[in-house]
Symmetry: C2
Subunit: 190 residues, 2 copies
């Protein structure tokens, strides 16, 4: 039984960690199940998803277009408008380094102008994931994509105003891509 001691603030808020197990592991995530005494005194498991984190990349080309992808998503059985993204599950390096790899792999893009914009957390009752946002400027689509099996992706170029309109509306269903675009808005050239 592993006994992580990684919740000092939770302890101060009345949680008492008793033990931890990992009942399911996949290469993209694992389930962590903590047996805890909750702040009201009862003892029960708190289960959540742990990931290695991921990066969302907002690419703007040398002539100012935003590179969006339309990607097929098995989980929801549908196509989705997104920005390129990738996870740290098979990568050790910085968010900027992962962003560089994913831009090349997913859309065949390269850039020498990278900006770390920030990070957000999605669904903190379920996940401990951290999602980084990186802006790539002066992007050139100058190399062949190298996609993984299961990455079914179309590449589209859109004016920034149009991409932001999609992010603000329900047209861009992918929430992480929408937020990444909106947080990059002040940094985009028009």
């Amino acid at each position: 039984m592993t006994q992580p001691d990684d919740k000092p603030n939770s302890r101060a808020c009345g949680w008492q960690h008793l033990e931890t197990r990992y009942p399911f592991t996949y290469h993209m995530f694992r389930v962590r199940e903590d047996l805890v005494r909750w702040p009201d005194g009862h003892i029960a498991p708190y289960s959540y998803i742990q990931t290695a984190g991921a990066v969302w990349i907002v690419p703007q080309t040398v002539d100012g277009q935003i590179v969006l992808i339309r990607q097929f998503r098995y989980t929801i059985d549908a196509w989705s408008w997104e920005v390129p993204a990738g996870g740290f599950h098979d990568f050790t390096g910085s968010p900027l380094e992962l962003a560089r790899r994913e831009l090349e792999e997913e859309v065949g893009g390269s850039s020498e102008d990278w900006t770390y914009v920030g990070f957000f957390r999605p669904g903190m009752s379920l996940l401990d994931e951290i999602c980084h946002i990186v802006l790539a400027r002066d992007v050139r689509l100058d190399r062949p994509p190298r996609r993984e099996p299961g990455e079914i992706i179309e590449v589209h170029l859109l004016p920034p105003a149009r991409a932001l309109e999609m992010a603000r509306s329900n047209e861009m269903v992918d929430g992480h891509s929408a937020l990444a675009l909106l947080r990059c808005e002040p940094l985009l050239s028009r």
Copy 2:
């Protein structure tokens, strides 16, 4: 072995579903593991998280303030600025009905002016979750909150411009709350 036939579009994109099992279940989510033939022909599991969905509520009071919460999150061992939210794991009803319940439970709020704003999907490589956004106007904080064990919440009132500034910046770490606020922006009174 369950055999869901819920991926017709995936089938058309070259995925062949072979079988499904649910190796881990918690009241907030379950792990679904599909054995599939991937579009490139290899056979391997695709595992992801299924949830019943959730709703994020942007509450604006009768005098125009946005109701934000500061909530302690065990998963990341930290406090987080958010809007009220809640899941369908223990609720059968519409997003508007769940929003009404959560507004009352988390912040003691009530409203008779509800607008369904739309939905987004978070992290579609990991999750099939659907996140609804609901705007509540003319909110009154006129009843006692009824919080669940583990909900450690402070209630704050902020001017809309300030709440939106937090959503646009890294100050609001919770991505879902930030996107909910930004998608409600055109509907907020100033």
